[in-house]
Symmetry: C2
DNA sequence: AGTCTGTATTGACGTCCGTCGAATCAGAGA
DNA sequence: TCTCTGATTCGACGGACGTCAATACAGACT
């Protein structure tokens, strides 16, 4: 349930130390781009962006699918599909507890993506 | 050349002050998600991620298409297409000077995306 | 004007994506 | 074991995406 294969195996996105300098400082190498782009791609859908936000901002840091689904005008399978996409992108983890499945954000990769997009404050020069 | 329509018209992404708290703090509203998701989507392709990085990290803050294209095993039209996608997502601006066209990153939206992905440092609790 | 170079647009192709209904799986409880 | 509920998987459909070759456009230089 919480396993993810794919390109994430190439670079350890679970590391707490960001691996990459900001996109604005050095050219992102092709290999890094190949690894990180799928994460951005997963964020590139409004439903998934909201899902991730609902999960990450939920109290306790986790959210049940049963709480997520009713927030959208979409069927259960569709929400499930989007959650799977977020999981495969390494953005969230899932855990079944009894009847319900809980999702939890993975802060490390979020930090990494944020670091990549970091821009120097405009120099007052 | 530097005009972009679409969803970006709804929210001023050129503002220097980030409009939104981190994704992990408050639920991203549907409208905000609809506006920002296309930007993440544009970053969701390895070629575009590298293009943006090459542009943003170039000295002078700008890069000519003629310098960008040879870095990829792709045809000119394909690179042009990706640059158009980045433009329409509001991530870059283009300007023609004589024979060449120069692209330049838009720091404001990058800051905004980075802010959205910001995560509190893990509390030592 | 004519031509050459750099860039963008068009049209086409195969693939991937978002969505749904139907079927399936996993636990809980009678 | 039956059934009920929550969640995922499967199969299908329409539309969007990444790529290319061919074409068109914009300046510069004859």
């Amino acid at each position: 349930m919480s396993k993810q294969a794919g390109p994430l195996a190439l670079v350890d996105l679970s590391a707490e130390t960001p691996c990459c300098p900001p996109l604005t400082q050095r050219r992102v190498p092709a290999e890094t781009a190949a690894v990180l782009a799928p994460a951005f791609k997963a964020l590139g859908d409004p439903v998934r962006l909201r899902l991730l936000s609902m999960i990450a901002s939920a109290e306790g840091g986790e959210a049940c699918v049963c709480d997520l689904t009713p927030a959208f005008d979409l069927t259960g399978p569709t929400i499930s599909h989007h959650l799977k996409t977020l999981r495969e992108a390494g953005l969230v983890d899932a855990e079944r507890r009894g009847t319900w499945v809980y999702y939890r954000a993975r802060p490390a990769i979020l930090r990494q993506l944020a670091a990549l997009l970091t821009v120097q404050p405009t120099p007052a020069a």
